[in-house]
């Protein structure tokens, strides 16, 4: 039996590719760099997976075009008592794509599933002590302490149909062996997955029974992973795909001049920064010192002074990124407006600080950097290496693929490293919890604080921030932490990574700072 996988496109294939994309106006195809490794919304907590699944699964709440929380499967929610938890009122008449109805049972099941040890999303629910079904369309989430940001923190928690999961033996996520939910999806979202070939293509078609108002005009959408940036760009230029993410930064200017292509730019949530081995006795890769200069805040400040961030943004990022003075971007909740600018580019000041710290002739050290994780990461690290050298700090740069990078950082094989952080909750509390809190395995704190930065005041403020309901009081504490981190220069924040999407010019879409590509906001003209 012959089965045409893309029946409609056969005729189109005979015509030149550019005509094909306009002739099939409602067909849309886009290229991503990383294929989502699973369709299970609770198995892996990464942007590639959650971003894609937002098109087919939905949570109780969702983010709108401005990243604000808006009702989704819950129509409204309110705190219970004085911070005992949150009550969600569920939307009625919602069905899953397989036709079964959405009820409070599904919410409870999805909580149990997403909070299970097998899931990768359990940390979202660490403040939750219990979940109770009040009635068929009301659910209570009880928290151990007041949790003002809880609705925000579950925006990517997606609801799965309990009956479907049980029928297909997918009651728990299975990262190792996978299960039915790894390759199949059954959400309540605007699109349903009609074909899934991992690593090759995933086809989405509109879900006719969706509860929401349709803004898009897509009849069929196809997602293809393309790893090589040049190939992806060629595919966009030749019209083989309608959208690519990201556009290589160096190509932005050229694309903007191309009438067939539109570039959509924005500021991502991801802050790029430098990290240090705060607790190390000595540098691992130095040839001229057996101390750890980076343990001294003055040396870290010297690093900040030595780096010409504007020059990096001008050349390597080509004016497509914004400098930043803290660990979150201005688009995030809890961003500290009160915080002053960080150390400006000033090589002389850097040298002076080094001399003050006892290193008038500088020192040598090893600088680890990923080469396939962040936009132009390797080039940025090279530029930083050059700038530090000009201030007397001789870095030997070791750039490596990310799969080797994290193990190196965990093993402490670095004297300085590059890190990008995107707060999953879109809140300034997030990086404090993961990057600045003293590492504490039991309390799940500081789990990405490789250098072991430790400040008693920060550790003291963090639980207060987490439970403070008053916005102003909370912001004051966030400002204080931001100030401490800047004074200590725990990390040297460099810039906010840009979002650069390229589309054919007949496509309109909305870009969100979390870099999620939301298909229901796309139309093809």
């Amino acid at each position: 039996m012959l089965r045409l996988l893309r029946s409609a496109a056969c005729a189109a294939a005979l015509a030149p590719a550019i005509l094909a994309s306009t002739a099939q106006a409602e067909e849309f195809s886009w290229a991503v760099t990383t294929d989502p490794q699973t369709l299970d919304p609770h198995a892996v907590n990464t942007a590639a997976v959650l971003g894609f699944l937002n098109n087919t699964y939905e949570g109780l709440v969702r983010r709108n075009k401005d990243m604000r929380i808006e009702p989704a499967l819950a129509t409204s929610w309110e705190p219970i008592g004085a911070g005992e938890g949150w009550r969600f009122h569920l939307r009625e008449g919602v069905t899953f794509q397989d036709g079964s109805a959405f009820t409070a049972e599904d919410v409870l099941f999805s909580y149990q599933r997403a909070a299970s040890p097998e899931a990768d999303t359990a940390s979202w629910f660490s403040p939750v002590s219990d979940v109770k079904i009040v009635d068929e369309f009301t659910v209570d989430f009880l928290t151990t302490s007041p949790n003002p940001i809880f609705p925000d923190s579950i925006a990517n928690w997606m609801i799965m149909d309990s009956g479907w999961a049980e029928a297909n033996a997918a009651e728990r996520p299975d990262k190792e062996s996978g299960n039915y939910a790894t390759l199949n999806a059954n959400g309540t979202g605007a699109f349903q997955v009609t074909s899934r070939e991992p690593g090759l293509r995933t086809v989405l078609e509109p879900f006719e029974g969706w509860w929401g108002e349709v803004e898009h005009n897509i009849t069929r959408a196809e997602m293809t992973p393309i790893q090589n940036p040049a190939t992806a760009l060629a595919a966009l230029l030749s019209g083989d795909v309608d959208m690519i993410n990201p556009v290589p930064i160096q190509d932005v200017a050229r694309l903007q001049d191309n009438p067939d292509v539109t570039v959509t730019q924005g500021i991502e949530a991801r802050v790029i920064m430098l990290g240090f081995p705060h607790q190390a006795e000595a540098l691992k890769f130095s040839t001229d010192t057996d101390e750890n200069p980076f343990a001294d805040a003055r040396v870290r400040q010297a690093v900040a002074h030595a780096i010409n961030v504007p020059a990096i943004l001008k050349t390597i990022m080509r004016d497509n990124a914004e400098p930043v003075n803290q660990l979150v971007s201005a688009a995030m909740r809890g961003y500290s407006n009160a915080l002053g600018d960080g150390p400006a580019y000033d090589p002389d000041a850097a040298r002076a600080l080094l001399a003050e710290a006892g290193y008038p002739d500088g020192f040598s050290f090893g600088f680890k950097c990923p080469n396939n994780r962040y936009l132009n990461d390797e080039a940025v690290c090279q530029a930083i290496t050059a700038m530090l050298a000009q201030a007397g700090m001789t870095a030997s740069l070791d750039a490596m693929p990310v799969q080797n990078y994290w193990p190196e950082l965990r093993a402490g094989n670095y004297d300085m490293f590059l890190l990008g952080w995107s707060p999953g909750t879109f809140d300034a509390e997030h990086p404090i919890r993961f990057l600045a809190a003293t590492p504490n395995e039991a309390q799940k704190l500081g789990s990405w604080n490789f250098g072991g930065f430790s400040n008693a005041r920060v550790d003291e403020l963090l639980p207060q921030i987490q439970s403070e309901i008053d916005e102003d009081a909370r912001q004051a504490m966030l400002d204080e932490v931001a100030q401490i981190l800047q004074d200590e220069m725990a990390y040297v924040p460099l810039y906010v990574q840009p979002l650069i999407w390229g589309t054919r010019s007949n496509v309109t879409l909305t870009q969100r700072p979390d870099n999620f590509f939301i298909l229901r906001w796309v139309s093809v003209n």
């Binding site: 990262k175 299960n179 190939t231 230029l237």
Partner: protein, 326 residues
Amino acid sequence: MLAYIIRRMAQSALVLLIVGLVAFAMFHFVGDPIDNMLGQERTADDIERLRKQLGLDRPFVVQYFKFLENAVQGNFGMSYRQGRPVIDILLERAPATLELAAVSGILAIVFGIALGVFTAIKRKGFAANAIMSVSLIGVSLPTFLIGILLIYLFSVELGWLPSFGRGNVVDLGGWSTGFLTTSGLKALILPSITLGLYQMTLIMRLVRSEMLEVLRQDYIRFARARGLRDRNVHFRHALKNTMVPVITVIGLQLGSIIAFAIITETVFQWPGVGLLFINAIQFVDIPVMAAYLMLISVMFVGINLIVDILYFFIDPRLRVDRTGGH
């Protein structure tokens, strides 16, 4: 002959064992799969638990024998990344690579032999010398650059051919083929040229030098002295003798076509096993990497076996001591 084949098979099995061992040794250095299986909110506990679950905490030798034990039963485990049986993924991807390799291989063999014979016969001619020199460009630029330049020219600038992928494929009972659709055939052109160019050059040069060697043999002089037509001398007498050493190398080349497909597939986003392997490296998908290397080895050993059997048909002297090589 049967005894010979059995002996070859035994040797091949040994080769596979060693390949497996080496492949496994490598995995300790390609990185840690854990980071790709967990999101940024994972804890050290999560890492340890998953490591244990995957058996990564056990000694390397234990892991290897476990792998062998399963592999013998045709079970290559589950992909860490896709959570599916590796064997399914490989079977799904193999047609793309095999079709690409087949087209590239045929291009390389047909043009390689034709041009090799031509340049050998017209050794002093201008055209032959021009072909010899120009062909070197094919081996003097890295494959990935040739691929990117082809995309730039034929997809972006001219818009004639697709820039990536396989086009539309038709499913023939589990085998997806791009041969039956126009877009599938068009999609094959650039990748197969990119992949075949290097091998074509090698085969051409090999055929030329072997042919020159054959052409100065006594039996060719004798054939000429008997007044046989040039066509007969070149294609019946010379080419057949040329093929004896050439077949060995072509066999090896076909194996490396499949390996070199890694690069071509990356450049053209060709959904074959090579791309799968590169992705597997990126995500430290150890079972996929191991199975891929075993697959390559099996193919290679198979090709070598076929080459050996071909000898029986081409060379009546049954001279199979190829280890001497040419």
